[in-house]
Symmetry: C2
Subunit: 440 residues, 2 copies
Amino acid sequence: MLSSSWWCEQAWLWPGRVADRVRLDVTDGTFTAITEESEAGDAHRLAGFVLPGLANTHSHAFHRALRGRSHQGGGSFWSWRETMYAVAARLDPDSYLALARAVYAEMALAGITCVGEFHYLHHGPGGTPYNEPNVMQTALAEAAAAAGIRITLLDTCYLTGGIGAPLDDVQRRFSDGDADRWAERALSRAGGPHVRLGFAAHSVRAVPADQLATVAAMRPQDPMHVHVSEQPAENAACLAAYGRTPAALLVEHHVLRHGATAVHATHLSDSDIDLLGDRGIDVCFCPTTERDLADGIGPAKRLNQAGCGISVGSDGHAVIDLFEEVRALEMHERLATGERGRFDPEALLDMALTQGHWALGWAGAGQLRVGAPADLVAIGLDSVRTAGGADPAATAVFAATAADVTDVVVGGHPVVRESVHLRVPDVGHALSEAIGALYG
Amino acid sequence: MLSSSWWCEQAWLWPGRVADRVRLDVTDGTFTAITEESEAGDAHRLAGFVLPGLANTHSHAFHRALRGRSHQGGGSFWSWRETMYAVAARLDPDSYLALARAVYAEMALAGITCVGEFHYLHHGPGGTPYNEPNVMQTALAEAAAAAGIRITLLDTCYLTGGIGAPLDDVQRRFSDGDADRWAERALSRAGGPHVRLGFAAHSVRAVPADQLATVAAMRPQDPMHVHVSEQPAENAACLAAYGRTPAALLVEHHVLRHGATAVHATHLSDSDIDLLGDRGIDVCFCPTTERDLADGIGPAKRLNQAGCGISVGSDGHAVIDLFEEVRALEMHERLATGERGRFDPEALLDMALTQGHWALGWAGAGQLRVGAPADLVAIGLDSVRTAGGADPAATAVFAATAADVTDVVVGGHPVVRESVHLRVPDVGHALSEAIGALYG
């Protein structure tokens, strides 16, 4: 039995209120007692404002190698994808581990204690399976362990290079040939204390309609994610081929079902919005990626009003900062509608806390309450960014950045202390080394 | 004669290229020699990527007191303005100095070495002039000196509470009664080595058309700024009262003339865009403020193509980070058009460098070349945000934040070293104190 205690100047207690002088007792990775207005005593002190751990619902770890290398120049999502594929072509299990370890350590420094990796880089060059068929996602699980965070491995089915189009050279690495073989491999995986398993269809571009049922046949209690309507071209191709929108097609084939997560959901029709809301389907927005790729602004508020839960992901990792992500979601709503206050700070925080963990199969995490996993994130309220605020929740959402995270605890174990990662001592150097090796 | 030398691993030499191992010799605040591929010798070493100083073209220093206190909740620009006025009502010369000193120190830490303060808080409560009529802007000049940065005091004419509407209680502090008395006071000011003087009309809302000529009569070589078409309501009122758009009205009365700066320019007609371009009028965008206030996305690319130079400002200071500001300008263009690469990194950097200084009357500053003011800003390329990039200019624009600024030199004097302000030792504390006093 491993016990620890933590004392916070201010903490964000479930279901969403600021409490002062909070002591949290932890046994075996779980909160066993939470006491307000307490003395610190022998507990580890956390200054500032303490949140539960943040969940990054949508990640492609290897896209981090494109930051500062792919954002300029003209073109669209589609030309960006060419650059991204060039990196994908170079990765092997060792370089994938080194890169993902550094990226997940960057996430830990940003207060992210749980990541959903939308993983489709399954096989070797040309599509040749590795001897250990899941070695690439084993590397991701190892990387998360090394960085001290939780991970949900969303094993992604990717079969075609577009609706009715063959795979290109790089895309062959992504494919198991058909959905049955994908399912067989994906079901052969094992989780672990810090690893949950989930499933995904890449998109209607990459999984033919007649194979969606196989993807949908995975256990309904496990996470199921799918990219939906990221670009108008995807909608046009889907309508042409199937006579319905991506959302409608995915609902019809039960990939999008109650509790599943539609990622992006940028270009939806009014009936798509009603459909997703009526079915209790959740949505993951990735605002910093969606603006970087010129994808557009999705209808977050309307989806939420229709009944969809909302989580956020840093996706292409142009930025790894969930404070910026939820802030951008609200700011994009303001730009699109001309109205302020589309979501209140509590709702925005909850996207990165309860909602994100829920979408990744860690229900009950992301909450400071007895029985929940003992993940804590302290942000400073005295930096040049955060100083002068009144309400810590509003300050977190409207002023803080990842650079304000000072301390991170995962399952009762310290991972970041005074803005230094305790297991990856120089994360910037680890990123430079891992990324440099790919271009070397 | 005061000399110093600086040696940079990589530097952004005018007119816009990365050079390696650059030695910059400084005498009396000016670059006297710039040598590439040099040895460091006895020069002060600056690691990372060294830029000229950044210019923040549009600031209302006291709005910093609203960060984390005014962004939530519903409403629009107009309801936000009520909150802002409540702060304005409380300020006096001492509290204005304390707040502005802290805010300008935050700017220095972000690599901003020159600020344009759009100043209209001229008089005491109820509009009673202070014994020293310009004491409020004297406080701003002192604050800039204490923070170690340059300032352009844009003395702003503010006479009405809307077109044909009287001033409200708070607004009386802003007004000199009429444009002649405004001009008399504004012309009585003195500059200084770190202070340039400029002029502004607040907007068509605050200066009646028949008094614009008085504002326009200021010396044409001095900066002239004006808020233009920040909200649709301003356009509607202007069209109703004058039968023309704010841009057209301001051009007609010569406030907007060659070299003048139109701030915001969010809601322009096609003919407004042509008009501003044809006259060689420049534009200052404030993207992080414009999204916070739900103002909308202005036509930056179209204005630039029409002939307008572009600078950026942090305006309401929801964020003080010019890297984020130019990045947001590009990202908003992407969201509005569905195209990437609307501006290249060189053009985006130049907005915060040459263009910003030009708009503030410091022509020739913001450039690493012999004869220019010796302002230097080093950003780290090894942080979790910036590590892994290839092109330093692209990394600065697409990955860096204000937190990556490590060293700042103004006029040959170090102001920030290893991310610590040398004259305001704890800027977060200074902000907390100054802002707390206003709400206490």
